[in-house]
Symmetry: C2
Subunit: 759 residues, 2 copies
C-alpha cells in the first residue's frame, strides 16, 4: 500500500513531487472519453516519467511476439498508442530550462479536482535572486471533446530575468512496450496557418487494419508576450514567446488545443475542423470554455454521486472511481468501449476485456442513461461477425468474442488467454441478461441480443465434447477467471456459464418472431442439441465438502489458506515463478464465486456460504476484478468486516496502489468495484429476477451513505443509515420493489427500519 | 512423403536441383563433430536457399521473446549461430556470374558419398557457344577436424571465355530465426598474410555468457591461374583468379580452409594455428588429406555398419542415420553434446535435449567405444551445478537439468516446456542406469553418477506435493513427453520416472562409500523422505481398461483413433489450431509407452500389450522421437508390420521428409531410431537387468540383416536371417548371454534357430 495523495472528499492533493512519479502521473490523468493524458508536466521532466497521450479508438496492430508460433495465434497485439503530446510548454528562465527533476522549487502543489475535472499545479521556482511563481490549469473539455486547454499564469516574485515559453506539439512519442521498438506514426504535414498544427498518420502495417490520421492544433494566447517566433523540427511544431520580467510582473499564456482524427473527419478537412474548434474556444475565452466543461461534470455528478458520511477516505475512493470511469467512457461513440487503462497508460493493449460486461455495465445501468449504457451492448452486436471469425480461426463454429480487441478481432497473444479463457463468451451473454432484467425492456434482447446469443450458443455447442466414460458433456482445455491456472479441465464456472448461455438462448428463442427464427437459421435439430448439452453438462461438485469444484484436479492440490504465506511472498505474481503459481492452490480472482455472483438467484444462501468459506481464504485478489465480487457476496452473507475490507481494496485500489502496479496506469475496468460493493453489496440491490430488491446495511466504519439510481425512467435517491434506509423518488412514477424480501411501494419518500443482524 | 534422392546403399544421388532446395541442402549437409555446413552451392545461388555454416559449441544468447514476461523465464534462447561461410567460390564467365537458379545447365549431378564422407557435384554450364564442365568435391576432415577442403575442376568443352574464380570467406551471415533480426558477429581482423583470413567475434550480450572468437583462413591453390588479386569488404576476404580459356583447357582450384575458435586457441594465436593447419594440408596435397579423412570413416564404419539384404531403401536409411550421427558427434570434446539439428540447420536452438539420453546414448553404447559414449555422461556431471541453479530459479531444491542448453543453464523459452517438461530429469538418471547396466561397470555410478542422482532426487522430492485427499504424492503442472498436452496433473510417465529416480538413488546410496555419503550430505531423514515419496507415489491406472492413464483427465477426452482423421488434417500440428490439438486425444509421441520402453523390465508382456493397443492408435508420431519407441515395443509384442512401418518412419524420416520439415535441418537426435529399431526391436536386444539378451527375427521385407556390437570389451557381429541368428565374436573373450530366454555361451561363432512366431 502506497498513498501519494491526501484524503479529501473531492480532491487529490499533494505538496511533493513523488519519487514514484509514474504513479503520480497515473493518478492525475484526465480524459473526456474522446482523448486523455497522463499527469505529465507541461514544462517537461528529465527524471523518470512516462509521457502518455491517448485518443480513443486510435490504435496500431503491433506484430505478435512469441517464441514459437502456433496455428491460430492472432497476428498482432492491438495497442492503444501514444499520440502527439499536446500539453508541452517548455520554459526557459534566461538560458536555463526549467526542470523540476533538478531545479529548486518551493510551495509545490498538485491538485486534481474531481468535481470540476480540472488538474491544477503551482510552484515557486528559485535560482539565486530570482523567484517565479508558476500556476498551471489543465482540462480536456467534457463539453467539446476535441478541445483541451492548458493555462499558465506566471508571477515574478523577486529578481529580473528573461522568460521564454515554448508551447509546442510533439509527435516524437513511443509506446514503451512496443514489440519491436517501432514508432507507430509518420508525419504527414505541419504548418502554422491558421494556427500551428501537426498532422500524423499511423504507419502501414501488414495486417491491413485501419490507419488513422490525426491533426493536433494549438493556438497560444498571451497578451503580455513581447515577441514570438516559430519553431519546427521533425514531428514537432512550436512557438516561442519572450518576456523580459522584473519583480511584480505577471503574465498569462493560454494554449487552446484541438485534436481531430480520421475516425470522424477526413484527413484533408482536419485542419479546417481543428481551426474552427480552436477559433471558437478563443472567441469564447478561457472562462466561458471552462464553464461549459464544469456544467457537463455537474450534470454527471448529479446523476451519479455517492455520498459517504464518516469516512473521507472511502468518500474520496468512490468519487475517484466514478470520476475516472466517466473520464474514460460516457457512451458517446458506439465504436468505443472501456479500455483497461483508459487514457492513463498503455499496458495490456487493446480495449474491451470481459470486464465491460462483468463490471462496467452493471454500474452504468444505474448511473447513466439508456443512451449511454445501451451502447455497450450495441458495440458487441456490431462485432458479431468478427466473433464468428475468431471462432473460425480456431476451427470452431459459432461466435467467440475476443479476450481483447479494438475491432472485434481477437488481438491478445497468449494461447492460455486467447484460446482458453473462453468463459468471456458467458459474460457477453450475461450482459444482455443484465440489461434486460434491469430495464425490463425485451426489445433489444428479442431483436439484436438474440443474434449474439445464438452465435454464442453455437460456439459452446461445438466447443464441448462428449465424454463417453462419464456420459456427460465436458469442456477441456480452458482457463477460468482464475488466471493462475491454465489449461484445466471442466472449470466449474466456464461449464456453468456455457450451460446457462444455452438455456437462456433456448428460452429467448421461444419469444422471438418466426421471421427472426428464419433469419437466424436455427433449426429444431440445433435447438435439440443445445437442450441435450445443457441438460447433460458436467458440473464438478464435491459431495463431502458440499462445494462446487473449481476444476477437475483442484481438490488434489496442496490446499492451504493465503494466510499460510509469508507476507514477503506477496503478491505472488511478483515473487513466485510461474510454474509455482500454476500448481499452487492460490486463486487470483473470483472463479466459482464469479458464477455465484453472476447467477446469484440460482443458488441458495447455504451454497454461497459454503463456497465462499472454502474459496475466499485461498484467494489472493491479485486481479482488480476480484475484491468487488467478494465484497458483494460477503455482504450478502453477513460477513461485514470482509465486505468492508474488500470494498476498500477495490475503491482505493489505485489511490493506495494495492497491487503495486498503478504506475503503469489505472485499473479503469474495475473502477466500478467500489460502486458495486456499495450498491449491490452494502445496499444489497438485486435485479436478476426482474424485480428490484434491496437488503441494505451501513458498514460500521461509516455513519451513513447515499446513492442515486436510474431505474426504468425513474431517479431514485437511496440513503442508508445505521438503523434505517430512506428511498426518495426524485424523478418518475411510483415504483413497487422489495426491501428485505417485503414488497413496498414508493410514491415519494419511504423509510424502512434496518434491524440489527437483518442480513 | 517427399523423396529427393535415388535409392542407393551408400550414396544420395540426384540429377536435378530440387524446387525444395532447402530440403536438398539439409540432406547434403556434412560435418565432422567440430564443424559442418549445409549443402549450399560454392558459387552461390540466387533462388531460395538457406546458407548455413556451424561450429560446435559456438553460440549466442538471443534475448527471449515473449508476449508477457513471467517470473522464472530464461533470459535468453541459446542459439547455434551461423558462422563465416567458408565454401564460397564465386564463378564468372566473362562478366556473367554463374548462378544455377537462372543459368542453363546440363548433366547436373549431386552425390553425397556416405562411406567416404564426401559431397560431389558436377554440371555443364552453357551460354551461346560456350560449354564448361564444373566438378566440385567437398569434405570436412574427419582426421583433422579444423580442416575443410573444396576442390573445383573445370573443363572448357566448347567456345572461348575468360573465367574468374573468387574463392572467399564471407562473414555476412545471419540466423533466419534471430529474435530481433540481429547479426551475432563483429569483425575483429582480416588480412592476407600468410593466407587470406577473417577473424570474427560474437557480439557483447547482456547476460555475460562466453563470447567466441573464430578465425577462418583459406589457401587457394591453382597452378593454372593466370593472375590473381585480393578483394576485401566488410566481414569478407576474397582472392581473384583469372583464366582465359579455350576449348579443351582444364584447370583446378583447391581451397584449403582452417577454422579455429577461442574454445581451443586464444584469439591472438589463432592466425598462427590456422596457418599451420592450412600449410600442412597444402604440403600433403589433396589426395593425402583426403586419404586421412577416408581412413577415419573406414574405421567408424567397421565398428558400426549395419547391413541389410533385400531392401536398399532400408539400407540407405540406416546408413544415412549413422553417417549423420557420426558427422555430428563422435565424443572428442566433453564440452559438446548432440544438438537437435547438428550442423544441418539452426532451428530449435540450443544443444542437448533429453534426446541424448533417450535416443543417442543407447546406440552409442554399442557402436562407439567407452572414450566416446562416456563423454555423454561426463557432460551432464560437469553441468550439475547449473542444474541446481535451474531448479533454484524456479524456487525449487535439487537439480533440474535443462530442456535445452549449451552451458547447463536452461535456455528454452516457453513455460510449457521450461517449467513443465521436467520429466527430462528422469531421462538423465536413466542414462546413468543404462550405461551402468550395459557396461557392467559401476565405477562411474558410484563416484560421479551418484552426484547427479542425488541432485535429481532432491528435485523430485521438492517438486511433488502431498494430496491430503488421496493421501498420496502427486506431481501437478507438467508436460509429459506428449507435447500435445500441457500443464496436466499426474502424467503417469513423469510420476513413474520420478518414483524410479528416487528408488534408484536410494539403492545406489547403499553401495557408495561413507566418504561419498558425507560429501553428498545426504541425511537419513532425507533418505527417509525419499522412501516415503517413492512408496506413496500416485500412479494413475484405470482398472476397467487395465491401462496406465496418461494423466488425470485423459480418459475423459473424446477418445478416438488417428485413423478417424481425414488425411488432409495431418500432420495436425500444421493444420489445427493449438487449442484443438491440446484437448484432442491425439498423442504426439510415446508417453506412457516411453515408460514401458525405459523401464521395460518392470512390466509384463500383458501390461505392454494392453497399453500399446490402447495408446498407439491415438498416436500421430509427429515427434521424431516417437516411431523408434513404438517400433521396439511392436517388435517385442510380435506386431511385425507395425514394427516395420515405424522402422521406416524413423530410419527414413528425413530422406523421405515424413514430417514435412526437413528443410529446416535434419532430425539429428532421433537419427539413432533406425538403429535402435533394428537392434532393440528386430533383434530384441535388452540390457536393463545387467544381462545381455536377444529375441531376434528378420522382418518379412528383408532377406537378412547384420550389425556389430561393442559390448564389454568385445566386438560382436550379429547376423539375423529368416530362420537363424548367428553370433560371431570378432574381438574379446567368450561371453554368456541369453537368446530367446535361454542362456548361451559364445566362444567364436554360434548359430541359433529362429522358430516361426517365436515372439
Amino acid at each position: 500500500m502506497e498513498r501519494l495523495f491526501g484524503i479529501d472528499p473531492w480532491k487529490l492533493t499533494s505538496d511533493t513531487i513523488d519519487d514514484n512519479k509514474r504513479l503520480q502521473e497515473s493518478l492525475t490523468a484526465i480524459g473526456n472519453g474522446y482523448m486523455g493524458l497522463r499527469g505529465n508536466f507541461e514544462e517537461g521532466y528529465s527524471g523518470d516519467t512516462h509521457i502518455g497521450t491517448y485518443i480513443a479508438g486510435v490504435w496500431f496492430p503491433d506484430k505478435t511476439k512469441v517464441g514459437w508460433w502456433k496455428i491460430g495465434y492472432p497476428d498482432y497485439f492491438g495497442k492503444v498508442i501514444n499520440a502527439t503530446n499536446f500539453i508541452p510548454v517548455d520554459i526557459y528562465v534566461d538560458e536555463h530550462k526549467v526542470d523540476l527533476a533538478v531545479d529548486t522549487v518551493e510551495q509545490f502543489h498538485l491538485e486534481l479536482d474531481m468535481k470540476e475535472g480540472v488538474l491544477r499545479r503551482s510552484f515557486v521556482w528559485k535560482k539565486e535572486e530570482v523567484a517565479i511563481l508558476f500556476r498551471f490549469t489543465r482540462f480536456v473539455s467534457a463539453h467539446t471533446t476535441e478541445l483541451a486547454v492548458v493555462n499558465i499564469e506566471v508571477e515574478m516574485q523577486t529578481g529580473i530575468a528573461e522568460l521564454t515559453l515554448i508551447p509546442n506539439l510533439d509527435g516524437n512519442v513511443v509506446n514503451e512496450d512496443s514489440n519491436y521498438e517501432e514508432q507507430f506514426w509518420n508525419e504527414l504535414e505541419k504548418g502554422h496557418e491558421p494556427f500551428p498544427f501537426l498532422k500524423t498518420k499511423t504507419k502501414e502495417n501488414p495486417f491491413g487494419t485501419e490507419r488513422f490520421t490525426v491533426t493536433t492544433m494549438m493556438s497560444n494566447q498571451s497578451e503580455s508576450a513581447k515577441k514570438n517566433a516559430e519553431k519546427e523540427q521533425a514531428m514537432y511544431v512550436g512557438e516561442r514567446f519572450f518576456y523580459p520580467l522584473k519583480a511584480g510582473d505577471q503574465l498569462t499564456l493560454t494554449k487552446y488545443i484541438a485534436v481531430i482524427t480520421s475516425r470522424d473527419v477526413a484527413a484533408d478537412q482536419q485542419v479546417e475542423k481543428a481551426a474552427n474548434i480552436v477559433k471558437s474556444a478563443m472567441d469564447k475565452g478561457l472562462q466561458s470554455v471552462l464553464k461549459d466543461h464544469l456544467a457537463e461534470w455537474e450534470t454527471r455528478w448529479n446523476n451519479a454521486d455517492v455520498q459517504i458520511s464518516g469516512d473521507d477516505a472511502s468518500q474520496q475512493g468512490i468519487r475517484f472511481n466514478i470520476f475516472q470511469l466517466f473520464s474514460t467512457y460516457y457512451g458517446e461513440d458506439p465504436r468505443l468501449n472501456v479500455g483497461p487503462k483508459g487514457f492513463t497508460g498503455e499496458k495490456y493493449g487493446g480495449a474491451t476485456y470481459w470486464d465491460t460486461e462483468a463490471c462496467i455495465l452493471p454500474m452504468y445501468l444505474s448511473v447513466t442513461n439508456e443512451g449511454t449504457f445501451r451502447q455497450l451492448l450495441v458495440y458487441r452486436h456490431n462485432q458479431l461477425e468478427q466473433a464468428y471469425e475468431n471462432a473460425a480461426n480456431q476451427g470452431l463454429k459459432g461466435a467467440l468474442y475476443p479476450m481483447v480487441t479494438f475491432t472485434g478481432i481477437e488481438c491478445h497473444n497468449e494461447w492460455e488467454i486467447t484460446f482458453e479463457e473462453i468463459h468471456r463468451n458467458g459474460a457477453i451473454a450475461h450482459g444482455i441478461f443484465n440489461y434486460t432484467t434491469y430495464t425490463g425492456n425485451e426489445d433489444y434482447l428479442l431483436n439484436q441480443g438474440i443474434d449474439v446469443l445464438v452465435g454464442i450458443a453455437r460456439f459452446w455447442a461445438d466447443r464441448v465434447h462428449y465424454s463417453a466414460r462419464k456420459q456427460q458433456y465436458m469442456i477441456h482445455g480452458v482457463t477460468g477467471p482464475n488466471e493462475y491456472e491454465n489449461n484445466v479441465s471442466n472449470n466449474w464456472y466456464t461449464n456453468t456459464m456455457a450451460q446457462w448461455c444455452l438455456q437462456y438462448t433456448l428460452e429467448t428463442l421461444e419469444k422471438v418472431t418466426d421471421d427472426k427464427i428464419r433469419e437466424l437459421k436455427v433449426s429444431e435439430e440445433e435447438q435439440q442439441k443445445w437442450t441435450d448439452i445443457s441438460g447433460n453438462m458436467y458440473l464438478p461438485k464435491d459431495e463431502a465438502l458440499a462445494v462446487f469444484v473449481q476444476h477437475d484436479s483442484f481438490l488434489d492440490k496442496d490446499l492451504r489458506p493465503v494466510n499460510s504465506l509469508d507476507p514477503s511472498e506477496r503478491p505472488i505474481n511478483q515473487n513466485w515463478s510461474w510454474d509455482k503459481i500454476l500448481r499452487s492452490p492460490f486463486i487470483k480472482q473470483a472463479d466459482v464465486l464469479q458464477g455465484l455472483y453472476f447467477l446469484n438467484h440460482h443458488y441458495s444462501q447455504e451454497e454461497k456460504e459454503r463456497n465462499f468459506n472454502f474459496y475466499e481464504p485461498m484467494t489472493v485478489h491479485e486481479s482488480s476484478l476480484s475484491p468487488l465480487v467478494h465484497s458483494i457476496l460477503a455482504s450478502e452473507l453477513g460477513k461485514k468486516e470482509k465486505a468492508f475490507e474488500m470494498y476498500e481494496r477495490t475503491a482505493r485500489l489505485d489511490l493506495d496502489n494495492y497491487n503495486n502496479d498503478t504506475e503503469d496506469g489505472l485499473h479503469i475496468t474495475s473502477m466500478s468495484g467500489g460502486w458495486l460493493s456499495i450498491v449491490q453489496g452494502f445496499a444489497g440491490m438485486r435485479t436478476q429476477t426482474g424485480t428490484l430488491s434491496f437488503a441494505p446495511y451501513c458498514p460500521d466504519q461509516w455513519d451513513s451513505y447515499r446513492f442515486k439510481l436510474n431505474y426504468r425512467e425513474r431517479l431514485l435517491n437511496v440513503a442508508v443509515e445505521k438503523t434505517a434506509v430512506t428511498f426518495q423518488l426524485e424523478v418518475g412514477e411510483s415504483l413497487i420493489f422489495e426491501v428485505f424480501g417485503q414488497s413496498v411501494t414508493l410514491e415519494d419518500t419511504l423509510t424502512i427500519a434496518i434491524e440489527e443482524n437483518s442480513n
